[in-house]
């Protein structure tokens, strides 16, 4: 029987793993299960989609014909709901059971809504998927003002593109840090200036208290300070969490993400993790941490893929902090300080 590789998540990490496996093993079966319905794309380009500068077909990780050419089975629109480590099965939301010889968890991370704002979820916009970006793009023509709560990449990127589109943007951060992957103090100050120069109203040390829909698509946001802001879009991020809850009872060891060794193998033989959902020991920090960003996800995917398929195992070279382009500037950051 052909060896069967299952990859959960068709982000950068998942796709580069699939390519690496195929390069080593021509005959095996490779199935990528992806919850979203779009063809795999670069999340970093979502801002360009909102701005209308790029269409969905222009931000693809691989051209459309890639999947057939590489003989990959891309199972879009299906979520993995659990994994049986001993049985070597993943279970899908459509009640299907897929057998695997080796499994890669490449499910990325997602933005979480702050606990105290969960009850307003129906009024809140999200910005992590293509669907989100298209929704915001389509709403732009009639959007005058937006309030974004939180720090971190998505909030900042959304602030940048909205203000560029002529939307009046208020950015509220609960503390004096503007970015999740911690920035050194001077970088933080630099970022603060960049935000102000862009014409964004920055409110630090305050938080959203209440969101009320006044008319259809028009919200009144009350801050803890008592201040109210009227706007057509409300975004609230309380940070990120790796998408690993489906592994809870699997026996695979989890911290915030999937704990992996230098070979990107989890605590279970033949089960690997890569990208934004993997937690790996960082010698210079002295503990496990999650690397962020797509260059990192691509590299981890590639190494994990080769290790899943190959005989000899290869170690991941842990990189130093990587620069991120935020507001047109390269800043150094790492996630989960």
């Amino acid at each position: 029987m052909k060896r069967s590789f299952v990859i959960v998540g068709a982000g950068v990490a998942g796709i580069s793993a699939a390519k690496a496996i195929r390069a080593v093993e021509r005959e095996c079966e490779i199935t990528i299960v992806e919850e979203g319905i779009a063809f795999p794309y670069y999340r970093a380009a979502l801002g360009e989609v909102v701005l209308g500068k790029k269409g969905p077909e222009e931000i693809l990780i691989e051209p459309l014909d890639f999947y057939d050419r590489a003989c990959l089975r891309l199972r879009k629109g299906q979520r993995v709901v659990s994994v049986s480590v001993s049985g070597r099965y993943v279970y899908l939301s459509n009640n299907e059971r897929l057998r695997f010889d080796a499994l890669l968890v490449a499910t990325g991370r997602r933005e979480v809504i702050p606990a105290h704002l969960k009850k307003y979820a129906p009024h809140l916009s999200t910005f992590s998927t293509l669907e989100d970006a298209l929704k915001i793009r389509d709403a732009l023509p009639s959007l005058k003002a937006a309030l974004l709560r939180g720090k971190g990449f998505n909030a900042l990127e959304l602030a940048r593109v909205l203000v560029k589109s002529g939307v009046q943007v208020t950015l509220v951060t609960p503390d004096k840090r503007l970015y999740y992957p911690a920035l050194p103090d001077d970088e933080n100050e630099h970022l603060r200036n960049l935000i102000r120069e862009a014409g964004i109203q920055l409110i630090e040390g305050d938080d959203v208290n209440r969101v009320e829909e006044k008319n259809k698509g028009l919200y009144s946001v009350e801050l803890l300070s008592g201040k109210t802001v009227e706007c057509g879009l409300v975004f609230a991020s309380g940070g990120f969490a790796p998408n690993v809850s489906f592994l809870k009872n699997s026996g695979i060891y989890l911290n915030q993400g999937v704990i992996v060794d230098d070979y990107l193998q989890s605590t279970e033989e033949g089960i690997f993790a890569a990208g934004d959902c993997a937690e790996i020991y960082h010698p210079s920090i002295g503990r496990y941490w999650v690397n962020l960003g797509h260059p990192n996800a691509a590299r981890q995917g590639e190494v994990a893929g080769r290790n899943m398929a190959g005989e000899a195992m290869e170690r991941l070279e842990i990189e130093k902090m990587r620069p991120y382009t935020i507001f047109g500037e390269q800043l150094y950051a790492r996630w989960w300080d």
Binding site: E35, D68, G77, Q78, N94, N95, E96
Partner: protein, 581 residues
Amino acid sequence: MARRQITIQTCGGAGDGSVATGALIARAAVKLGYSVLVYDTFPAEIRGFGKTISEVRVSVEEVTARADAVDVLIGLNNVFAIEQIKTLAEDAVIIYDSLPGITVKESESVPHFAGNYMSPYGVPLEHTAQRVTGRKLGKNVVAVGFLAKLLGLPKEPFHQVLKELFLRKGEKVLSQNIALFDEGYAYEEVEYRLIELEKAPPPGEERVIISGNDAMTRAAVNASLAVFAGYPITPASKLMENLAKELPRYGGIVVQTEDEIAAIGAVTGAWFAGKRAMTATSGPGLSLMSEIINLGVMTETPLVIVNAMRGGPSTGLPTKVEQADLNIALWGGHGDSPRVVLAPTNIAESYAVLQDAFDVAEKYQTPVIVLTDKFIAMSHTSVPASILEEKRGSTRLEYTGPPEAYRRFAITETGVSPWVVPGTPGISYTTSGLEHDETGAPGYDVPNHVAMTEKRFRKFRAMLGDLPAPVFEGPEDGKNLVVSWGSSFGAVEEGVKRLWNDGYSIRLCKMTTIFPQHEDVMRGAFERAEKVIVVEQNRFGQLAKFLKGYYGISADEVHLPGGEPPSPGEVTEAVKERLLV
């Protein structure tokens, strides 16, 4: 970009209601102003056994052909749905039964077999039906609800159709079906992408959905049909079944005979007695009727025979499509036995063509064979209700002279001899299958036979004005002349339109009257064209060979494979390489 047309296929097993699903989708689409074509496929052996497929093409424009590919598959049975996947468009959407609570292996999983560019959406069809009605019945309505949401269509027209279908079964059945539909419509568990369909023009005049067999039923009743005799055979059976219900209400009678020979005998007898009569059959039945059709030619008795073609030879492919009975229709007689052969190209046309058949048969006292096929006879389409209204009556050339001077086969300029009903007092009516003289008495001398043969052929010139002339589309000076007939014409027409867009110089000819030929018109058309291409769905090139012999022209033959109705894409592919540029 919004699509101008979409094809939805429903596939299921016995009792899953595939055909009913297709009908429900089609009726709602017509209410929204779309044009529809419904093509059903079922196993030949027993209806309601095995895999049944219903395909609905919904379009902003009129459609008379199947689409190139299926865009949406509704799988009411996952095993059958998996089999269908290879026939779908590369980017098709699949709605399948997600069967909550049951873990399926890859080998039983619809999404496992779906291609990388397809979107399989699992919806708990049976589960929902069970919950709403306590039975599995109605899972197809759940699927249609989800489909309507997927296409961004409003609920109301679907509710209306459900009302039309189920109100007579009681309030409870109706409200259950509405609930089933709404559950499907509201199903939110899967992420999906809207399939945008261009809005149809606002519905104008009333439109109804009918099959070719239905249209011909109305046509026959409205053409004063008095007697139908027949023996059931797919795909013609429904015509008899319809008439058995309808005709008695208008004072007519329907006889199911022991075989096709008896059927055509009864029809001959009815016409002999002055009543409009017809039979309907398919290839094997037409073979059996050959002998008596010749009697009709010789005795100048009108006959109307509808032959709904299926795949042959012999019992062949009872539930499939082919245009291969032209040869037997034209040449299936012994002796010099001319008969009128007509072939409507679509469901709407079959109404008028059958009425023409009655009029011409009666006026010119000759057998008329109307060729339809399984595609026309058993598919459904939307037509303006008004085209099913026209009424026709007797076209008989009555004898008005003195009784004693009556000669049944009087030689006239048109070849038509005035007619009386046998038994008219004072008139001696003599007829025979033997060659006869003007009085009807047997006469074998050579000059008489020559004169009588001439007379029988002369009628075919006289009748041309009463028969549909060839219809041309496209530039008169088109380099290429593409000729087609029968149900494949719809695909040919759509295919040629695409080739026009690609810049090809093509004149298109639709031939509804195959014999007699509108010779002057056709000769002119052949002379103008640099190349002639005849497209038809048979292996012989039956029309092509006939035209080549008749006109002494050369022509390229395109033989579309038999079985399923061709698609426009198949036509363009086959025709393109032969075109002069």
